[in-house]
Symmetry: C2
Subunit: 158 residues, 2 copies
Amino acid sequence: MTTKAAPFEAIPDEALTLGKQLCFAVYSAAHAFTRAYKPLLDRFGLTYPQYLVLLALWQQDGMTVKRIGEEIGLDSGTLSPLLKRLEAAGYVARLRDPGDERQVIVSLTDKGRELKTEAFGILADIGKASGCSLEEAGEIRESLHQLARRLSSSESEN
Amino acid sequence: MTTKAAPFEAIPDEALTLGKQLCFAVYSAAHAFTRAYKPLLDRFGLTYPQYLVLLALWQQDGMTVKRIGEEIGLDSGTLSPLLKRLEAAGYVARLRDPGDERQVIVSLTDKGRELKTEAFGILADIGKASGCSLEEAGEIRESLHQLARRLSSSESEN
DNA sequence: CAAAATTAATTTGCGTACAATTTAATTTTG
DNA sequence: CAAAATTAAATTGTACGCAAATTAATTTTG
């Protein structure tokens, strides 16, 4: 059934190999990071995406849900329940903006601010686990940023 | 409260910046890939993880659930329902191994095998969207593989 | 200025992810 | 060889991630 070589039947198993695919490498690395962070975040009762939200808030407190979404690339459908959990855990407060009642402003509680100091330990641990020099990490980071930018800019064409 | 400089209070906002973090770059790139694949996979009624399973099966048909999990890094808790959906969609068949009834062997249907040819179109589209040369893609891929390896090998230490 | 359009969050529904438990089959070992 | 241990899938429960629908507030515009 596949004896006669079809036009591009020559490349197949080479090109389709999982290990040869950039998309799969990215997918795997993301999972590896999530798993590596998990034991470190567990003692704070945080998940990795929740940690990302806190990272964003430590940088700039008092953002709206929309703004946070733009920072970390998540929509409100994901953020709404996630933020409620962060609120329930006592790390953030959510308040309607009195100036525009449509918006919800998310701000750190004292407990949330205190966590910032401890977060350094987590970063150091992960840095060590990744086994990357700062330069190496910076290079990969830049390549990935470029990649993500290109992928999302070509999205609209479909 | 943060007037006096604590030991590592000097680095903070630099180091904690989302954009400066490798973990976030990987996380974002993974989402960017998923979003880029989505419109291409939609017409086959496939999700990205389902597509990964098919990629694995095109390479090596008739694997057990466990084996597939090892290939793409997912456990049976994720794969069981996913494979049922692939079966319902007519792309794979699931059969208990007569030699060892604990195992379930997953094999491609004709419909699943036919999809392999079309998958080339998807790969080409994504390749174009990623805007990477093969060399560039290969380099990033290798860096990420190394990274994932190091992250998961240091996992056991916690 | 009131109706229509837009916007921000929330909610709903589906599909991953993954830990932990359960079920059933196969090995190990006493 | 039967009880105990191990193994492979499936199931359960929690939390993303995202599209689509909903709700409420604010702008736009007729």
